[in-house]
Symmetry: C2
Subunit: 220 residues, 2 copies
């Protein structure tokens, strides 16, 4: 079945909102998330329902059907595979790849995604630490925690970010916090939640609670 760019973006949005933990994916929430008017969302939900990609009723909100879910996963898989390619092979930094991957994810060819995945060595995570579904839709799990929940004194490796905004990613670049960098909590300030962290054997640095709540780390 042929899917338009716009349809694909709605599927992605519903998937993202569900995974973000929205109890009910309402018209309003989708509209805000996508920056479209509620009227447009209603139209599209009708269209997607007719195509049986989405189940929607006002009461319980929108949800992906099983075909809709596969479609969404396939788009996310492509997005993340292309991000790996852009970073690892073309030398982009992880804060610059999103917009391009946003375009590449819509290239229609499952075979291309499979071949790309093989070429990249079937990576399980993208440069932001997000899991890459395999071709059957299995999503790898990682034992990652937010830096803010990590254990004092223990060594961790940075595996991703929660907030992928350019502002945050650029701040990370400045602090030289890249994917794969070692990081360690040294001191907790009970007053404002700020903390002292050591980055990659360098000097220790004070960061805010908000900062630590947006970095995924994995024991190392």
């Amino acid at each position: 079945m042929v899917r338009t760019l716009s349809e694909e973006n709605y599927l992605k949005a519903i998937y993202a909102l569900k995974r973000k933990g929205e109890e009910k994916v309402s018209v309003k929430i989708i509209a805000i998330y996508m920056g479209n008017s509620p009227a447009s969302v209603v139209d599209m939900l009708k269209k997607l329902s007719a195509k049986e990609l989405v189940n929607y009723d006002k009461k319980s909100g929108a949800d992906l059907s099983s075909t809709g879910y596969s479609a969404a996963l396939s788009i996310i898989r492509k997005h993340r595979l292309w991000e790996v390619f852009l970073c690892e092979n073309l030398g982009y930094t992880w804060d610059k790849v999103h917009d391009i991957a946003e375009q590449l994810e819509h290239i229609k060819s499952e075979d291309l995604a499979d071949k790309l995945s093989d070429y990249l060595g079937n990576p399980k995570f993208d440069p932001h630490g997000d899991p890459i579904p395999d071709k059957k839709g299995n999503i790898p799990k990682k034992d990652k925690v937010l830096l803010s929940k990590s254990q004092l004194g223990k060594s961790y490796r940075v595996v991703g970010v929660l907030d992928a905004s350019t502002l945050f990613l650029e701040y990370l670049q400045k602090l030289k916090v890249n994917l794969g960098v070692m990081i360690q909590l040294e001191e907790l300030n009970a007053f404002d939640g700020s903390m002292l962290v050591k980055i990659n054997e360098g000097e220790s640095q004070t960061v805010s609670l908000k900062f630590a709540q947006n970095i995924w780390v994995s024991p190392a």
Copy 2:
């Protein structure tokens, strides 16, 4: 300036028709080439003229302005770079890459094209033997001739095809005529123009004049 998919495809078409040697790129010719109605072509030519990408008058037909020309070259560059990537890195055969490259060529990022080109070693020709413009728009030249015009008994290397139709490309696969394969004219039949060729040190094979008129070879 933002260009839509459709606009880009018209620019490509005008470029291709010009290069194909059409004296006058008329509404009718564009319509046939793209499979659109003449009415649609007129509409789009108006739009492209307003954007100063195309100069058009009924008398002399359509032509690319200098910005239109750069835009077309940039799309062609991307198309051919992606074809190289698909064949060389992902293992596609040259007869399978066109449709995917047709999508990839519209990814908007000159920087991506540059990085991809570097990654591929700045190739000068795509898998069909067509030249890849560099970032400044210079188009490499190749001393290629059609097999039908090659010298009897001399060794050549296959560098491309004129007719890139699936039918022809599949026929080539069957004959094991791939890019880079050695080929040599052994005998000419004056009656129907058919010829005996040796492919890659294998057995000799009879092919039609039409066949030989659609294969580009380069002395080797």
